[in-house]
C-alpha cells in the first residue's frame, strides 16, 4: 500500500476485555515498531520487529501485552484483560532496517477502556 495502515482507528472496550490492534506496514519494510502515546504525553516504545522476530520487546508494560508479526507483513498487538490505564493512542511505524532509515507512521488506533 501507499503507507502504513492501522485498524481499527478507534476502539472502545470495557475493562477486562481483550483487544487486538492491527498494523499493515509498507511493503518491503523489514522493521516494524509499536509505540504507545497517552494523552498529552510522548511516545513510549513497546516492541520492535525485524522480520517476524522481535529482538526488542523491552517496552511491553506487562504480560497482558503481546505482539506478533507474520513474515515481513502484518503485525497484531494484543492487550488482554484491558485496564483503564491502557487507554492511549497506539502507533505503528515501519522502516527499512538501518540506522538512518526514516520511520513511516500509521495514523494510530485510539483505544478507550471504560
Amino acid at each position: 500500500g501507499a503507507g502504513v495502515s492501522q485498524s481499527p482507528s478507534n476502539k472502545v472496550t470495557e475493562k477486562g476485555k481483550d483487544v487486538e490492534l492491527r498494523c499493515d506496514p509498507i511493503s518491503g519494510h523489514t522493521a516494524l515498531y509499536w509505540y504507545r502515546q497517552r494523552l498529552g504525553q510522548g511516545l513510549e516504545f513497546l516492541i520492535y520487529f525485524q522480520g517476524n522476530s522481535a529482538p526488542d520487546k523491552s517496552g511491553l508494560p506487562s504480560d497482558r501485552f503481546s505482539a506478533e508479526r507474520t513474515g515481513e507483513s502484518v503485525s497484531t498487538l494484543t492487550i488482554q484483560r484491558t485496564q483503564q490505564e491502557d487507554s492511549a493512542v497506539y502507533l505503528c511505524a515501519s522502516s527499512l532496517d538501518h540506522i538512518e532509515a526514516v520511520k513511516y507512521f500509521g495514523p494510530g488506533t485510539r483505544l478507550t477502556v471504560t
Partner: protein, 112 residues
C-alpha cells in the same frame, strides 16, 4: 536508554515569526531525526542530520547539531498556522540502533 528531550514543552508565536525548538540527548549518536505530529496521530519525518553535519536546511526548516553539547535545534522560519503541531527529536537508541526513542515533544501553536 537514549531519549530525546525537547525544550520548551510549549511555544506560542504569531504567524510570520520564527520558532526555535531545542533537543538534548544523552549518548553519542550517528544521526538525529526530527518528526512532526498533528493532532495526536501519526508522526511525519521532517529531516535527518548526521553526526558529521553541523547544519542542514529543508525549505523553511533549519536543523543544527552540536555533538559536543549533545544538543540539536530545529528552527522554523516565517511560521504559518499550518505549522501548528508537536515536534519531536529522535536520536537512535543505544541498544537497537534502528530504533528511535521520543521525548514528550514541543507543542507549537502558531496564531494568526
Amino acid at each position: 536508554s537514549q531519549q530525546g528531550e525537547e525544550d520548551p514543552q510549549a511555544l506560542s508565536i504569531q504567524e510570520g515569526e520564527n520558532a526555535t525548538m531545542n533537543c538534548s540527548y544523552k549518548t553519542s549518536i550517528n544521526n538525529l531525526q526530527w518528526y512532526r505530529q498533528n493532532s495526536g496521530r501519526g508522526l511525519v519525518h521532517l529531516i535527518l542530520i548526521r553526526s558529521n553535519e553541523r547544519e542542514k536546511h529543508s525549505g523553511r526548516l533549519r536543523v543544527t547539531l552540536d555533538t559536543s553539547k549533545k544538543s540539536s535545534s530545529l528552527l522554523i522560519t516565517a511560521s504559518r498556522a499550518a505549522d501548528t503541531a508537536s515536534y519531536f527529536c529522535a536520536p537512535p537508541d543505544t541498544g537497537t540502533a534502528s530504533k528511535l526513542t521520543f521525548g514528550t515533544g514541543t507543542r507549537l501553536q502558531v496564531t494568526l
